[in-house]
């Protein structure tokens, strides 16, 4: 029992990115990236942008008074649901590793997880930790939504409407913004919001081409970091959660793999990037109207899945390796902060709508 308590203390110490400030100060337009893997909120503080994030995951543990006391004492986000304690947010991953279990997700493939009965209550609980109630009725909040995937329109409509209803219930005027466009807003200001924004998230990769801030091509592929985690987990016989931790603890795609873990990660990363570049090529080639511009466009990469070292180079190599695109590309670069790019872009959209 003592040992277990120790673990809990460690978890508490390791909880990252506290968002107390966001909770206390409230008000002002907000941007929110509701991603499969993470929820990130952004708001303006003076002339800077402040962000806070939570893991969009949860893990239920059996209720006991002792466990509940420990969770409360250590300020770990949880709520009680009958005979279970539902631990949610950033601490979840540590618990999952501790108990060698997979985390559960309120969202899957970029949308609300229809197969998860606790999807909505947990997502709402997570959002509550990041987004305070609007100080004034009608405060603008922009939240990210993925581009439509063929055959998934009803799910997307439900996902967007559910989030909108939740935010409006908190007193906000909710505005949905395409995820790729949000990346363009936050990262391509110097190019007058012209270029290609790509957000590689947990559930999907979203791509938007915009010309002077007006989106002209938007699409997504239903694969992201989770696909890599599950595929690698299956071939190395590990939980996807452990694969994710391994992936985030310094995977370097630019150097040869050192073990079976890395080998599998390399294979599936290459697979994902190939599919992404193929989809980009196909969508650009089939586009009815491409903006007339004699300028080469910048591609900016963002999202947690794009974070490993060497991802940009892998993308660049794959892009140059295939058939040429119908538009000229000036270069590929990473977002200044890949994890918060979408939320920061959503905030710009909210401030614009204000």
């Amino acid at each position: 029992m003592d040992e277990r308590k120790d673990h809990l203390w460690k978890v508490a110490q390791e909880v990252e990115e506290r968002i107390d400030d966001l909770e206390k100060t409230g008000a002002h337009p907000m941007g929110c990236d509701v991603g499969t893997s993470k929820v990130v909120a952004a708001r303006q503080k003076s002339r800077n942008i402040e962000t806070g994030s939570q893991l969009n995951a949860f893990i239920p543990v059996p209720w006991s008074r002792f466990t509940e006391n420990i969770l409360g004492q250590n300020q770990i986000a949880y709520y009680r649901d009958d005979d279970e304690l539902v631990i949610y947010g950033t601490a979840t991953e540590k618990f999952a590793n501790m108990f060698n279990a997979n985390v559960r997700r309120p969202m899957a493939d970029g949308l609300l997880n229809a197969k998860e009965k606790l999807a909505l209550p947990v997502l709402e609980a997570i959002l509550q930790t990041l987004i305070p109630k609007a100080r004034a009725q009608g405060e603008i909040l922009a939240f990210s939504v993925p581009a439509a995937i063929e055959g998934k329109d009803p799910e997307l409509t439900y996902h967007e409407a559910t989030l909108r209803r939740y935010f409006e219930g908190q007193g906000y005027k909710a505005v949905a913004i395409n995820e790729g466009l949000a990346v363009i807003f936050s990262e391509l200001e110097d190019q007058n919001f012209t270029g290609i924004g790509i957000s590689c998230g947990g559930g999907m990769c979203n791509v938007t081409l915009a010309y002077l801030s007006i989106p002209s091509i938007m699409f997504s592929i239903p694969r992201g970091g989770d696909y890599i985690d599950q595929a690698v987990g299956a071939v190395v016989n590990e939980h996807a959660t452990r694969v994710k931790v391994h992936k985030e603890e310094g995977l370097d795609l630019s150097r040869p793999p050192r073990d079976k873990f890395e080998k599998a990660l390399h294979i599936y990363y290459e697979d994902l990037v190939e599919e992404l570049v193929d989809a980009l090529r196909k969508n650009l080639s089939h586009a009815e109207k491409l903006p007339k511009s004699d300028r080469a466009l910048t591609i900016v990469l963002s999202g947690g899945t794009a974070k490993p070292k060497g991802f940009k180079e892998l993308f660049d190599k794959t892009l140059k390796g295939g058939a040429s695109l119908p538009i000229e590309i000036s270069g590929v670069r990473m977002a200044s902060d890949p994890l918060t790019a979408t939320a920061r872009g959503a905030l710009i959209a909210a401030l614009y709508e204000k």
């Binding site: 947010g89 609980a125 300028r295």
Partner: protein, 461 residues
């Protein structure tokens, strides 16, 4: 999030280059996005004209000029960007573009006038002489006298009031206003309802200040002489401490004209108490939430003389200009505390009387609020008592006019003035109760305890 659909077609390169030249000077991404999205729909019209110009440099210049002009118009009309969001070069370019526009306009007007004069002379020289005298026309009415403003601003006034710079403990504005921000404290968030004259409580919660209320601190006042310097300083310090502790005003202007921000503008301050004011059909009750409180360190003393120093006068006017610009406060919503303060139990006006006479509205560029019918009397039938008359001698003009309106209404209905007053006072009582309920409901909605999840107990972070 939708946007305009127009994009450049014929010469996208030239257009884009010119656009980039303008946007390069916009440092704030939101301002840049607003500019681009506002400018694109107008591009088609601009493009139609520019396409006819045969020379590339001229086309580029016209695109750029149109962009700068669009930027200037948007800054002016919609507050597209604060000047702090633009580089110095862009600001200069906007000013230059404006000057060019003015010069071109003058040339066009001059040319048109010249043409008209020529045409008129030509027509007259060819016209037949009049042989029959017409009936003498009645003398034209004398033109209405143009009233010179009471205060003629000397020197160059800034085109707008903007934040020049800010540092730890101060903000400096382009009209000379300097705000000491070291004492600023947050307060309760501003939330208020307004009433519609016809329909009553409007169920919309507002959070932007709707007006400015001018006060006097009614504190110790020492002669403005060097020998009293220590007393003057000490009084200000003590007053500031008191005002801060009780969150009384948003701004305090001391006797040397120093402007202190005390309560953050986004919060309410406890400055107005029971009070009433109106903007057309929108009625405001209890102005703590809806109005910004600006207090001059002085005693009103019945308003027989202007009780503020020259420095306070200048600072107050500059502060009023800045606040009005920042929050888009209409002139008729800038009023003195004494004109709004009421006693709700006795249904009397003038519960507080600071600035009930003598506020220099015109010199502040504001309408003479003493001439307006106070809604407390006109709409709610409030009266005044002997104590009020002891101080003021005679109510301000608007009160008398409102009382005459009540008398006319009573005569029209065949009632006594007291009966009309009682009916209207009843309306005030009902609205006051409704406001109180609405505030309670808003507070309950905002209570975090109310956001507990069904079927679970929230805990932790």
């Amino acid at each position: 999030m939708e946007g305009p659909r127009t994009v450049a077609k014929e010469h996208p390169g030239e257009f884009l280059e010119a656009l980039e030249e303008v946007t390069r000077g916009i440092t704030d991404p939101v301002a840049k996005l607003r500019f681009i999205r506002s400018y694109l729909p107008e591009y088609r019209q601009v493009d139609r004209v520019v396409q006819k110009v045969p020379f590339r440099p001229a086309r580029r210049m016209l695109y750029r000029w149109a962009g700068l002009e669009g930027l200037r118009q948007l800054m002016k009309r919609h507050g597209l960007a604060s000047p702090a969001d633009l580089t110095v070069g862009t600001r200069l370019s906007v000013a230059f573009g404006r000057a060019v526009t003015a010069v071109v306009a003058l040339i066009v007007v001059g040319a048109m006038t010249g043409l008209s004069t020529f045409a008129y002379r030509y027509w007259r020289s060819r016209a037949l002489p009049v042989t029959v005298a017409a009936e003498p026309a009645p003398p034209a009415p004398a033109p209405a006298p143009v009233l010179a403003p009471l205060v003629i601003p000397a020197g160059v006034a800034p085109a707008a009031v903007w934040l020049v710079e800010h540092g730890e403990g101060f903000e400096q504005y382009s009209n000379g206003l300097r705000i000491d921000t070291r004492h600023a404290v947050p307060g309760e968030p501003r939330k208020f309802h307004v009433f519609d004259r016809a329909t009553g409580l409007v169920p919309v919660i507002h959070d932007r200040p709707a007006g400015i209320l001018f006060h006097t601190s009614e504190s110790d006042v020492w002669p403005l002489e060097e020998g009293f310097n220590d007393n003057l300083r000490l009084s200000s310090v003590q007053l500031l401490r008191w005002v801060k502790r009780h969150k009384l005003y948003h701004y305090l202007i001391d006797r040397f004209g120093r402007v202190y921000r005390v309560v953050e503008e986004e919060s309410k301050a406890n400055h107005a108490g029971h009070s009433v004011w109106a903007q057309g059909d929108r009625i405001h009750l209890n102005l703590n939430h809806s109005f910004l409180g600006v207090s001059f360190e002085t005693r009103w003393e019945g308003g027989r003389a202007l009780p503020i120093t020259q420095a306070q006068f200048a600072a107050g006017r500059n502060l009023s200009d800045w606040l009005r610009g920042r929050w888009e406060i209409p002139a008729e919503m800038c009023v003195a505390h004494g004109l709004t303060s009421v006693n709700p139990k006795k249904h009397l006006i003038g519960h507080h009387l600071d600035w009930a006479r003598g506020f220099p509205f015109e010199a502040f560029g504001l309408p003479d609020q003493y001439q307006l019918l106070p809604p407390s009397v006109e709409l709610f039938g409030f009266a005044h008592d002997d104590d009020f008359l002891k101080v003021l001698g005679e109510p301000w003009a608007g009160v008398r006019e409102a009382e005459r309106a009540l008398a006319r209404e009573a005569a029209r209905r065949g009632q006594t003035v007291d009966e009309v007053r009682r009916e209207r006072q009843g309306l005030y009582d009902r609205w006051l109760t409704e406001q109180s309920r609405a505030e309670t409901a808003t507070a309950a909605r905002d209570d975090p305890a109310a956001s507990r999840k069904p079927g679970g107990v929230r805990g932790g972070a």
